[in-house]
């Protein structure tokens, strides 16, 4: 049994927690699946000698600070990179090491900070090579240091769109334009809420100014309706959206680009929190997330949640929630008394409040329109792993299927390798829209969270 707290995920939440623990003299064990800590936001380039100037000075400063703080605590942090946590229960985690061998790791205090995945929004042509998700594209220019081929069109909703457009352009890639699905009026109304986070708002302003200066057009109230090409992307079709995102197909415009990056937000990872039997609820946007209290404590007192797993709020908020979770664990371990813990927590909560106000403004203007689920055609693939099309889902709904588990059995959606990470958003949207219910179930993730080789059991078997 590890008496050290065990942290799953070495992004800003996990790193923040590890630093907070170390600063109070507590060692921890930290697992991350990547070859460098930092998570998708702060991993930095995977190879040396890269000048990240094109990502903006604010980002570069935050990146450097986090890694320096983390490095200063290195003695207290047992960092296991290239390790994947593929399952677990209320006593142990199942961890696949860098040599693809499986290990049982018992825990007493656990922090889950495994982040989120992107929401896939299917439309005709979304599976063509050249169509990628916005976060994935950003990761390529941040960590892989790979630029997309030819001209890139960005579509979706939210502040990540102009940010990635600027970063791409500064990195030397050509950006054909940004298509924000929400109308300008709706965003302007939220400007009061955005004022509460001046730094981000100013960045927002300067991003738009940068785009204007460099001739990157920004279209409000427009969205993608299709992508076509012979074996790879050649053309993207965009159209004006109504308030609930119904496209006006009489005004379709065509853009010739090699890359289409689509960003409709993120969904917390719940594969582990569900396997561990924690209590969950649904967000306004319809996604499942594990529940936690003001201490970032889950329904199990010895398991905490931090970062986007506990609700999508981005990298800076993740660092703060990681710190709060660590403070709670320190109190449980007797390293801080109640008064000290509350005082420290309040300091982090104060900083978090500004981010929360900003996020709630963003969430209101980026709320997805109900008509989005009508984008796919009858033959558009919804579940890429099992090749399930929209008409198969339509048929199942006509036949009276009302919940996720039944939809899975009837159509095989989510039975592939990704366990539904790609299609769960669309399927949940369709079921909720068809039944009018808020809770239509979610996918129950199974061990292992990602496929693992049979040979991974060799050592485990000899222990048994």
């Amino acid at each position: 049994m590890s008496l050290r707290p065990v942290i799953v995920g070495g992004g800003s939440a996990g790193m923040g927690a590890a630093i907070e623990l170390a600063e109070h003299g507590v060692d921890c064990l930290l697992f991350d699946e990547a070859s460098r800590p930092g998570g998708v936001v702060y991993r930095g380039p995977l190879r040396a000698g890269v000048d990240l100037g094109y990502l903006g000075p604010r980002y570069t400063k935050a990146l450097t600070k986090l890694h320096e703080d983390f490095a200063a605590c290195a003695e207290r942090i047992d960092l296991r990179l290239n390790h994947r946590v593929v399952g677990g229960d209320d006593q142990r985690l199942m961890v696949l090491d860098a040599d693809e061998q499986l290990h049982e790791i018992d825990y007493s205090h656990l922090l889950l900070a495994a982040g989120c995945h992107e929401r896939n929004v299917p439309f005709p042509g979304w599976t063509l090579p050249g169509v990628i998700l916005l976060g994935g594209l950003q990761l390529q220019i941040k960590s892989g240091v790979v630029k997309p081929l030819g001209s890139t069109l960005i579509a979706g909703t939210g502040p990540l769109l102009p940010l990635v457009a600027c970063q791409l352009h500064a990195a030397g890639a050509k950006v054909a334009g940004v298509y924000e699905a929400c109308s300008f009026n709706r965003i302007a109304k939220e400007s009061l809420a955005l004022m509460n986070k001046p730094q981000l708002f100013l960045d927002g302003l300067s991003m738009l100014a940068y785009m204007k200066l460099n001739g990157i057009p920004m279209h409000y109230g427009w969205g993608v309706v299709g992508a076509t090409g012979d074996g790879e992307l050649q053309e993207v079709q965009v159209a004006p959206y109504t308030q609930d995102w119904q496209p006006d197909m009489t005004r379709v415009q065509r853009e010739h680009v090699r890359t289409l990056a689509v960003g409709y937000g993120f969904i917390p990872r719940t594969q582990l929190s569900q396997q561990l039997g924690l209590a969950h609820g649904f967000s306004e946007d319809g996604y499942l997330r594990a529940e936690c209290n003001v201490w970032q404590q889950s329904s199990q007192p010895n398991i905490h949640l931090a970062g986007d797993m506990a609700g999508i709020r981005g990298g800076e908020a993740a660092m703060l929630t990681g710190r709060i979770a660590a403070v709670s664990m320190l109190q449980q371990m007797g390293k801080l008394d109640a008064e000290q813990a509350i005082e420290r927590r309040e300091r982090f909560l104060g900083k978090l409040a500004a981010i929360k106000r900003f996020r709630s403004g963003v969430e209101r203007y980026t709320a997805r329109g109900a008509a989005q689920i009508q984008l796919p055609q009858a033959d558009t693939v919804i579940c890429r792993c099992e090749n399930v099309t929209r008409e198969q889902i339509d048929l199942a709904l006509e036949q009276g299927v009302e919940d996720m588990a039944s939809l899975k059995m009837r159509t095989r959606v989510s039975m592939g390798d990704c366990q539904g990470r790609m299609c769960v958003g669309y399927c949940s949207d369709r079921l909720r829209s068809a039944t009018g219910r808020k809770d239509v179930g979610w996918l129950r993730p199974r061990f292992p969270v990602d496929p693992i080789p049979f040979s991974a059991f060799e050592q485990l078997g000899t222990e048994a």
């Binding site: 499986l102 919940d403 059995m409 292992p448 080789p453 049979f454 040979s455 991974a456 485990l460 048994a464």
Partner: protein, 416 residues
């Protein structure tokens, strides 16, 4: 507002759905099927083997069960620390062979019928089932099996080392041969359940998914209906208990007497999609393997009495993985995609519990199918349809009546 039906079927697993389908074919009754999704639904956790002979002689899903029973019996007889003895096969009674074989024979026709009339394909595949002989004990076990079933000699074939290699090149070179059961095939289990269910719906059965039954209504010794948590009261003339691992509670509510149905947990391992690696279904002394229509290989299954727990436990998963690699060494190089667990509705004598009970009118059991619910769902639907309509049955239902347990108790009391 109350709902009125001639028949209410409690349970939407493969058994309840088969009963609904068979009863709906006559279009003379108003039928409701009430189901709630609970973790451990055995239909969704099954391998889909139609192993009529294999399961009757303790292979397939029964292998691990048999080994467990055998080691427990021996331990009880000789004290602890006795090696598992697999030399005496665990053969089910004659009545079960008839039941299983009759059901098995219905599948080709049922497959065609559900495709043609209802557009539902449950992926019936003729595969055979091979018991792979990997050591002396396996050989003895196989010989015992053959001796016990002389009447099925035409459905059994010995494969020597070369013949096994020719038909199953992926099986270990260390295997000495195999015993093949020619009439044992496979289906996709959840597609079978869905096919019955959708066909029943097309035939006019009202489906109530995600509805929990919380009680049974009576009028004297007659069943009057059920109470539900989500959809109020349902009135009916006949209630069919197809509640799988949860059948004991419903029986208690309906008849005042419990039936000895207990959840028996089975854990299963699934590979990623693979090119055709296995020609037919495989059973060994460690596990069974069935490559499904989409290329995934399903490996099962443990037999554990853990109540309604459906967690996956790593030593057991590891045991299945090692057993599979021992027989098909190439599997060491493939990926494990998923594991899960289901709850078999186990009965003490491994026979299902079917038909009426004494002193209660309007109630029928269709439960306790243990590890052969997929295989015997076809005949169960046919039997229940005939029982409800009071018609001649294709086989004697007496050995499957719930009253057999009562008699057992009476006998024990008499002898005690």
């Amino acid at each position: 507002m109350n709902k009125h039906y001639d028949i209410i079927i409690a349970g939407g697993g493969v058994i309840g759905a088969s009963c609904a389908y068979q009863l709906s074919k006559r279009h003379n009754l108003k039928i409701a099927l009430i189901d709630c999704k609970r973790p451990g639904n055995a239909t969704r956790a099954s391998a889909g083997g139609l192993w009529a002979i294999g399961e009757s002689v303790g292979l397939g899903c029964g292998v691990i069960f048999f080994r467990m029973m055998s080691s427990r019996n021996k331990r009880e007889a000789n004290g602890a620390a006795v090696v598992v003895d697999s030399s005496t096969p665990h053969i089910l009674p004659e009545c079960f062979f008839d039941f299983a074989l009759q059901s098995n024979a219905l599948y080709p026709q049922l497959h065609q019928e559900l495709i043609e009339r209802h557009g539902m394909d449950f992926k019936f595949e003729r595969t055979g089932l091979k018991y792979i002989i990997q050591d002396e004990e396996d050989q003895l076990y196989a010989e015992h099996i053959v001796k016990q079933i002389p009447h099925l000699a035409d459905q059994v074939r010995w494969l020597d080392r070369d013949a096994l290699r020719a038909s199953e090149p992926a099986v270990t070179l260390k295997a000495n041969g195999a015993l093949e059961f020619l009439c044992d095939h496979q289906v996709s289990p959840f597609r079978l359940g869905d096919a019955y269910m959708e066909a029943a719906r097309q035939n006019g059965v009202d489906l109530y998914p995600n509805v929990n039954i919380t009680g049974v209504l009576h009028e004297g010794s007659r069943i009057k209906g059920v109470r539900t948590a989500e959809a109020g009261e349902f009135h009916c003339g006949t209630l069919i208990n197809a509640a799988g691992a949860w059948a004991a509670e419903l029986s208690e509510w309906a008849t005042g007497e419990s039936i000895p149905v207990k959840p028996v947990k089975g854990q299963i391992v699934l590979t990623e999609r693979l090119p055709k690696l296995l020609d037919g279904c495989i059973t060994t002394s460690d596990c069974y393997m069935a490559q499904k229509d989409n290329g995934e290989i399903l490996i099962g299954s443990t037999t554990e009495e853990k109540g309604f727990d459906v967690s996956n436990t790593f030593p057991e998963i590891s045991g299945l993985v090692q057993g599979a690699i021992r027989c098909v060494p190439q599997l060491a190089q493939v990926n494990l995609k998923r594991t899960w667990a289901g709850l078999r509705p186990g009965s003490p004598d491994e026979l299902p519990i079917l038909g009426p009970v004494d002193n209660v009118q309007g109630y029928f059991n269709a439960c306790g199918h243990f590890r052969t619910g997929i295989l015997t769902s076809a005949i169960t639907g046919v039997l229940l349809d005939k029982v409800v309509h009071n018609e001649a049955l294709p086989l004697d239902i007496t050995p499957f009546l719930a009253s057999r347990f009562r008699e057992g108790v009476d006998k024990q009391l008499a002898h005690g």
